[in-house]
C-alpha cells in the first residue's frame, strides 16, 4: 500500500526529470548532452508509465512487476550510454570515440553474459531474474566506470565545469545507489529506510544536472585540482 509520501516522491521524480530536460532545452544544451537528456526524458515517460500500470493493474500485479523490472533495466542501459557520452566528451580531443563505442558495447555484452551465467541455474522465471541481475550488475559497472572517468578528469586536467559537475553528480548517484543496495542486504530490518533512498536519489540526479545546465555557463572553467579533497 502506498502512502502520501510515496505518491509525492513518485510525482516529484517525474516532474523533476521532465523539468531537467526543459532546463537543458532552455540552456540550448539538449543536443550537446543528447543521451543524458534522452535518459531523463525516457525516465519521466517510464515514471508515468509505471503509474499507469500501478493504477490499472495494482502494485502487486504481475503486469506492474514485469513493467517495473523491465523498464528499470532499460533505464539502467540508457544511463550506461549516458555515462559513455560523458566518456566521449572527456576524451573527445584524443579522437578515441570509435574505441569507446566498441568498448562500451563489449562491456555491456560482457555484463549481460555474466548476468545470464548467474541466473542460468534458475529453472523458473529466468527472464525476470535475468533483467533484475543485469540491472544490478550494470549499476556496479556504472559505479566503477564513473570512478574511472573521474580519475581521467583529474589526470587529464579537464577544466569544463559543466562536464565536471555532470560526472560528479552521476558519481554521487551511482555510489549512493550501491551503498543503499549493500545496506539493504546487511540490514533488511530497516527496509523502510532503504526503500526511500532510491527515489530520493532519482530526484537528486536530475536536480543536480538541471542546476548545471541552468547555472553553469558552457565556457566556465574549473581546475579539477581545486575540487579533489587534499589539504596542504
Amino acid at each position: 500500500m502506498l502512502g502520501p509520501l510515496d505518491y509525492f516522491l513518485w510525482f516529484l521524480g517525474i516532474s523533476v526529470q521532465a523539468g531537467a530536460v526543459v532546463c537543458a532545452v532552455k540552456a540550448r544544451l539538449f543536443t550537446r548532452f543528447f543521451t543524458l537528456n534522452l535518459y531523463l526524458l525516457v525516465a519521466s515517460i517510464i515514471g508515468a508509465g509505471r503509474y499507469f500500470f500501478f493504477a490499472y493493474y495494482g502494485l502487486t500485479s504481475i503486469q506492474y512487476s514485469y513493467f517495473y523490472y523491465f523498464s528499470d533495466t532499460f533505464l539502467t542501459i540508457c544511463l550506461y550510454f549516458t555515462l559513455m557520452q560523458l566518456y566521449s566528451r572527456v576524451f573527445e580531443e584524443m579522437g578515441v570515440n570509435q574505441y569507446l563505442r566498441v568498448g562500451a558495447i563489449l562491456l555491456l555484452g560482457g555484463t549481460a553474459w555474466f548476468s545470464y551465467q548467474v541466473v542460468l541455474g534458475s529453472s523458473d522465471k529466468m527472464l525476470g531474474k535475468f533483467v533484475v541481475e543485469l540491472s544490478l550488475n550494470l549499476y556496479f559497472v556504472g559505479l566503477v566506470l564513473t570512478y574511472l572517468l573521474w580519475g581521467a578528469v583529474v589526470k587529464l586536467r579537464e577544466t569544463r565545469t559543466q562536464l565536471i559537475q555532470l560526472v560528479l553528480g552521476l558519481g554521487v548517484y551511482f555510489s549512493a545507489f550501491a551503498a543503499n543496495y549493500a545496506l539493504r542486504h546487511l540490514y533488511p530490518q530497516f527496509s523502510t529506510v532503504w526503500t526511500y533512498l532510491p527515489p530520493l536519489m532519482a530526484i537528486w540526479l536530475p536536480m543536480a544536472w538541471a542546476y548545471t545546465f541552468l547555472k553553469i555557463p558552457v565556457d566556465a572553467r574549473l581546475a579539477p585540482a581545486r575540487v579533489v579533497a587534499a589539504h596542504r
Binding site: L143, T146, Y147, W150, T161, I164, Q165, L168, G169, G171, V172, F174, S175, A176, A178, A179, Y181, A182, L183, H185, L186, W204, M207, A208, A210, Y211, L214, K215, I216, A220, L222, A223, R226, V227, V228, A229, H231, R232
Partner: protein, 134 residues
C-alpha cells in the same frame, strides 16, 4: 562479508564524489565577485570571510524569497559544512594541519552562502522591477 565490503567501497566512493561535488560548487561560486549590496548586507570585503559566518549568511539566505533553483545546492553545501565541523572538532588538537584545512573549507562554504544570498537579492530586485513596471 561481500555486502559489508561493498558497503565500505561504495560509502568511500560516495564520500569522495560528494565532497568533490560540493567543492566544485564552492569553487564555481568563488569565481563570482560579490555585488556592492551583498557586501553591505554581509559585511564581507573582497573574498575575506570566516567559516563561522556560514550560519549567519545562511539565515540571511533563508530570509530572501528563493528563486527555487538553488535549494538543493545549498543543502549539499550545508551538509558538507556539517561534515567539516565534525572533522574540525575531531582533529583540532590531534592534527592542526587538518583543522587549518577544514577552516579554509568552511570559509569557502561561507563565501558560497554569500554569493547565494547575492543571487537571491538580485533575483528579488528583478522581481520588484518587473512588478513596478507591470
Amino acid at each position: 562479508m561481500i555486502a559489508a565490503l561493498f558497503l565500505v567501497i561504495s560509502v568511500a566512493a560516495f564520500l569522495q564524489f560528494f565532497i568533490a561535488y560540493c567543492r566544485s560548487l564552492i569553487a564555481a561560486y568563488k569565481q563570482v565577485d560579490l555585488s556592492e549590496d551583498a557586501r553591505e548586507v554581509t559585511g564581507i570585503e573582497d573574498h575575506l570571510v570566516m567559516g563561522d559566518d556560514f550560519r549567519r549568511l545562511l539565515q540571511l539566505v533563508r530570509l530572501c524569497p528563493e528563486p527555487g533553483d538553488d535549494r538543493m545546492e545549498i543543502g549539499a553545501v550545508r551538509l558538507y559544512y556539517s561534515m567539516l565541523n565534525m572533522l574540525r572538532a575531531i582533529f583540532r588538537s590531534l592534527a592542526p594541519r587538518v583543522a587549518h584545512w577544514t577552516e579554509q573549507e568552511r570559509a569557502g562554504c561561507a563565501y558560497f552562502a554569500a554569493v547565494a544570498l547575492d543571487r537571491r537579492i538580485a533575483h528579488n530586485r528583478d522581481l520588484m522591477a518587473q512588478q513596478m513596471s507591470g
